[in-house]
Amino acid sequence: MSSTTPLIQLRNISKAFGGREILRGATLDIQRNEITAIIGKSGGGKSVLVKHIIGLITADSGEIIFDGIPYSNMKRKDFSAIKNRCSYMFQNNALFDSMTVFENIALPLREKFKLGKKDLEDKVRARIEQLELTEVAQMYPKQISGGMQKRVALARALVTEPEIIFFDEPTTGLDPIRKKTVFSMIHRYHEKLNFTAVIITHDIPDIFYIAHTVNILDEGRIIFSGSPVALEQSSDPGLYTYTHGHEMLIDELTGLHNRLSLMRKIEAFGAEVQGSEQLVLATVRLLGMRTMMDYKGDLLAHAFIRNLAKFVNSFLPEGACAGMFSKEILVIAAKTKDESTLELFLSQLEAFFTNLTIETYCQKHRLQVEIGGALVTPGLSAYSAIQEALATSKKYV
């Protein structure tokens, strides 16, 4: 089989439970030796999809092709050989509660390989030490914390050094530090052992740093499959929820449009401009905002943006909108017949930054404010229109 052929191909997989359709023709490729991530909403069928590969669930329709051979043509013995090449880390860990941590980790080795007692113990101990489980090795899963149970499940998945590992939400229930440790460990092991990994996760954007391919499962179908960079650069608004889901709360709290919806709004205004109407853009560039976030934290910056957003939203006329992107640029856009609209925007913004408290705040945190605005040529791309407005910016604070 050519190395470019995907190791596992899922073709039009459909599955329903009790009349409820979970998968509706999901198609997915898993490349060998790569880390493939599957993201999607909770209860969207990610685990169900992956369980088809390992044979825990049989599809109602569709085909799975492993190393070029369809499962439908595969003998039981061959499928058994596939299982021997795989490991599965369950979402709820699936640890054997009648066995100690040590026995849980040793079980796949005991059942799959004919190892001597010493070799087996050495391998298990090595994993136990790597995952900092030495102190709990002789305890039962119920006696240890959820995070530790997760690590035991991870150790059990890795102990046989399999070719393919399925991680079903490996970081759920872990603290942020251990989350990062788990991802970096998967990455490190992948570099070392070059296995094929399939990770189901909600940890965005962390997963983008280690995955080679990201697949988005939505409404039972894969709606995106590509590199994390391609996903991030995608202008598809349907994908924004997945790529910037972690920022959506902030967008909602400020009431400002995000980058994508702002661009769409400006382009829509541009296209709708008729007769005496004009497209007005006012911009505020907050230089130093990112540095402030790095040094003093996101929350302080967020509080400032929230105040600014509240003020902007208070004077926005009908048919206008405001949005923010890159954490530094606030844009107010309006489609208007009133020539004084731009002046109104600029004077209001200046009034906000003239406020003594705001001015002191900006000086204290070394924020430089530039305010600009222009009547933009209709038909320009949103990006060019914003650039045109930004070009008029003048340092204010």
Partner: protein, 263 residues
Amino acid sequence: MKKILAIPALLGATSLDIVKNVGQWGVFSLTAVLGMIHMRRLLPKILHDIYFIGFKSLNIIILVAFFTGMVLGLQGYYTLIKFSAEGMLGVAVALSLVRELGPVLTAIMLIGRAGSSISAEIGIMRISEQIDALSTMDVDPVRYLVTPKIIASLICFPLLTAIFDCVGILGGYFSSVLLSSRSGIFFSKIQSSLLLSDVTGGFVKSFVFAFIVITISCYCGYYTHQNQSSAGAEGVSNSTTSAVVQSCVYVLVSDYVITSFLM
């Protein structure tokens, strides 16, 4: 019209469900039996299950057997004395125990003590994906979980039945000693009347009961997730109840069938 059609539809669905369950149980049991081919690797688990099913049930079996024997002695004495046949008390107690009560009561006690617990254990393993985990390791869950239990029960049930019989006879003897001074005749009549075929018949029953109880208990736990009406903890609870009820019913039904063949 719809209401009239609902009755045959319900009957049809129930019949299909029964056929499906029987077939599934058959395949499940056969898989577990075929798992005995590589028994050596299962030895530690078999020993563990012998300890759990056999040794840990010993106390309750002895206690129940002793009082069953005493009650039999008591009831038998007052019945036989009406016919001046109290000398036959030993035979009545021994035959009742060896042929019927020994295997049946042992099985029922083991259903309550081991069967329910096995069903709950496997049910919990099912809902917490432990069985799926075995499957992903290419370990046949039926062979790993059920086969050792079948072997252990095939060893324990006859042994516990034998203990039940002996203790029950002792209980009967104790009753007869309390009620009558002619206790010596108790054992001499047993010796002269109890045949080897009575003993082997009792053991045949205990082997069959062992297979029925363990496969049904394991089956109910193993397929907990197929329980449409309930899931999670309630599903496990229903599976356990179902295991106990079904095991008791099938033990009594099979007891009648075996007895009719042995007579």
